[in-house]
Amino acid sequence: MSIPVLSQVFTEARRLAIAGSVVARGDFRLKKLLPPLEQAGQQAPVFAKIAEAANAVIESPEESSAGALLELTSLVNAVLYTQGETGLAGTLEPIETTDLGGVATQTSARVLKPLLEALSSTGSGRLELVKDAFERGLFRDLRLVKPALTALDDPYRKSLRSSPRRCCRCTARRSFRNWRLNTIPRARGGIHAGLHSCIPSTRPAHANS
């Protein structure tokens, strides 16, 4: 299949759609693509159809130009959708995992979604949510690990230095730290150890000492 020609037709049709179909009449770049399209059309009928649609775009008067252009882009898009590339060459390497070992809990969306929003947004009213979630042990959900860690680094904390108690981020940090300390009394090594401590069953060896 002459996919490069098809891609060119798509590029030209897209250009015309961006510029407006009023300028499509007699477009010489599209006209140049007609011969290779017709040639390909002898082997695959769909190309003949595309050539016909492209011709209609070049020749149609201004009033019917929009319809003709839409017809052409629909046809080309339909074919291009069947030509999506899959796969990736190269050596498949194992994923370096922090291996939290086993999945802890899976919280329901109704609880998880507001919590994710609280950890990633700004504004008031989030303190209670994060506190409550911490008390209910919801941070054992793996989907919360990254958002919780991101929330720890939020600069928002600085702007509220004068009233740290009102700061949700601080609570997130405290919640996370407390949780980590509760889970592994002697966890060392910063965030990495923190990640390990997500699930008690997979504590790093030194944590038990």
Binding site: A13, I18, A66, L80, L92, D99, Q106, A109, K146
Partner: protein, 484 residues
């Protein structure tokens, strides 16, 4: 006998707040009476509210798959916090001595019985079509299609690049009128186009950088193609319907739904789009707010244990009616549905049901789900490409894929099947869904080999690459959800 656990009550609650309040009532010991009927199908009790008289609340399980909640409190939520509290109390094994059902409640139960029988009887009667009214409606719809065509052609003539904030908001005004001519689906499609030109605050904007513009242009062209298809197919279908008022709504294409046909469950049943005794497992869930439509959309992705087809449930909750429509939630059990109605559609059609019971999810169910996964990616890819070429097709079909290895090539996550075919993972597809690729390095090593991935395909029009977004991983023991 009623079987209830707290998770079931959580699922019955219309929203998280109601559930929390219901639990609170039990904790605060607000229930002065708790009883169960002699036949074990009705829970009833009294709950002290702020007034002098306690509220009489009950949960009727005479129809186990469709419980009825009654309460004389003024709340418009069903079930209200009192009924939920009653059920939490039962789930928490509080004493429920048997007692005689109050006469008033008994009368209501009998009335419901009569109503159910009447409804079943009515369902069997053939539906009357008001020919004159239908013809009038179809004519208006055809005029609406003409308007849509004019608008779409104007947009193409002006050019996507010349779209500006003023024009977009004018289009938006015009789009609203399509809703008045019974074409809400077409209106939503036009909305989809104009929404490409809004910024994150939901306002139309002229200022965009080059990369965003290029991306928007390709997407916009695809949307225009979709509108073009709606106009063509819609006009053909409506013209046919005008000629033959008794023409059945087509079940082989989704054009009726695109025009905004609201399928009633009875219609779906009449068209034979019903599966009997289906058992469903939820694979993934998502809930997002559509700013343009001003409604929340809850989407559940389910697999049928019987035939392995993956389909979706959709609950639309307009902001205006938010209090009265139950928000959906993730579902961790097996849903047993007597009559499963399936909408017309291609790979992942919409499903709906009236009544369901549930049972716990067991390892053998997960085995069944894994068994339904595609062992060869090539067959799934072929099917996806075949479906995508239809202009009105769902652009992000979902499949269960059995992978041999999940690994990394360079910086990309890749799954490989037994034959060595590969698919690259991506977070693109649905912007409203939480990203999931970043979750992978947190998972235990065991899930990176020989598991089933629930994946949403996405064809990038700019790079022409077909990739998948990981939604969940099904292991022997669990459904690991990566999104919601």
């Amino acid at each position: 006998m009623i079987t209830l656990d707290e998770a079931m009550v959580d699922a019955a609650a219309p929203n998280a707040e109601a559930g929390k309040n219901g639990r609170g009532l039990v904790l605060k010991k607000k229930f002065t009476k708790l009883h169960v009927s002699a036949d074990g199908t009705l829970l009833f009790g009294e709950c002290q509210g702020s007034g002098k008289e306690p509220y009489q609340c009950s949960a009727d399980f005479a129809r186990a798959d469709q419980p009825t909640y009654r309460c004389n409190c003024p709340s418009r939520q069903f079930p209200c916090k009192h009924c939920l509290g009653l059920m939490y109390a039962f789930a928490q094994k509080k004493p429920f001595p048997p007692a005689e059902v109050p006469a008033e409640l008994q009368a209501k139960r009998e009335k419901l019985q009569v109503r159910t029988e009447k409804k079943a009887e009515e369902a069997t009667k053939p539906k009357q079509v008001n020919v004159a009214a239908l013809a009038k409606k179809v004519k208006v719809q055809l005029e609406g299609i003409d308007t849509l065509e004019k608008l779409t052609h104007d947009l193409v003539r002006i050019g996507i690049g010349n779209m500006n904030a003023k024009l977009a908001s004018q289009m938006e005004q015009q789009a609203k009128r399509l809703g008045d001519v019974y074409l809400p689906g077409a209106r939503a499609a036009l909305h989809g186009y104009t929404q490409l030109f809004v910024n994150s605050d939901g306002k139309y904007t002229d200022a965009r950088n080059n990369t965003t513009s290029e991306r928007v242009y390709t997407e916009a062209l695809d949307q225009l193609g979709r509108l073009h298809a709606i106009i063509k197919q819609g006009r053909a279908y409506l013209t046919k319907q005008l000629e033959d008022p008794n023409l059945a709504v087509p079940t082989d294409t989704a054009i009726a739904a695109w025009l905004g046909h609201a399928w009633q469950l009875a219609d779906l049943k009449a068209a034979g789009l019903v599966e009997a005794d289906a058992e469903l497992v939820q694979l993934a869930f998502n809930s997002h707010f559509d700013a343009a439509r001003q409604e929340y959309i809850d989407t559940g992705i389910w697999i049928s244990l019987g035939n392995g087809r993956i389909r979706v449930t959709q609950t639309l909750r307009p902001v205006k009616a938010l209090k009265h429509i139950k928000s959906e939630d993730s579902f961790f059990a097996v849903a047993q549905v007597k009559e499963l109605c399936v909408y017309p559609g291609s790979l992942n059609p919409r499903i709906r049901w009236d009544a369901m019971t549930q049972r716990p999810l067991e390892p053998r169910d997960l085995q069944t789900v894994r068994h339904h996964g595609r062992a060869e990616f090539a067959s799934a890819v072929k099917e996806v490409k075949g479906a995508l070429k239809a202009p009105l097709a769902d652009r992000t079909p979902i499949f269960a894929l059995n992978f041999k290895t999940l690994g990394k090539v360079g910086t990309e996550y890749v799954i490989e099947d037994a034959k060595g075919d590969r698919l690259v993972l991506t977070d693109a597809g649905m912007a409203e869904e939480p990203p999931s690729c970043a979750m992978l390095p947190l998972l235990p090593k065991a899930v990176f080999a020989g598991q089933t991935l629930i994946a949403r395909f996405h064809h990038d029009l700019d790079t022409r690459q077909l990739r998948v977004k990981p939604l969940s991983i099904i292991t022997d023991t669990a459904v690991i959800r990566l999104t919601l």
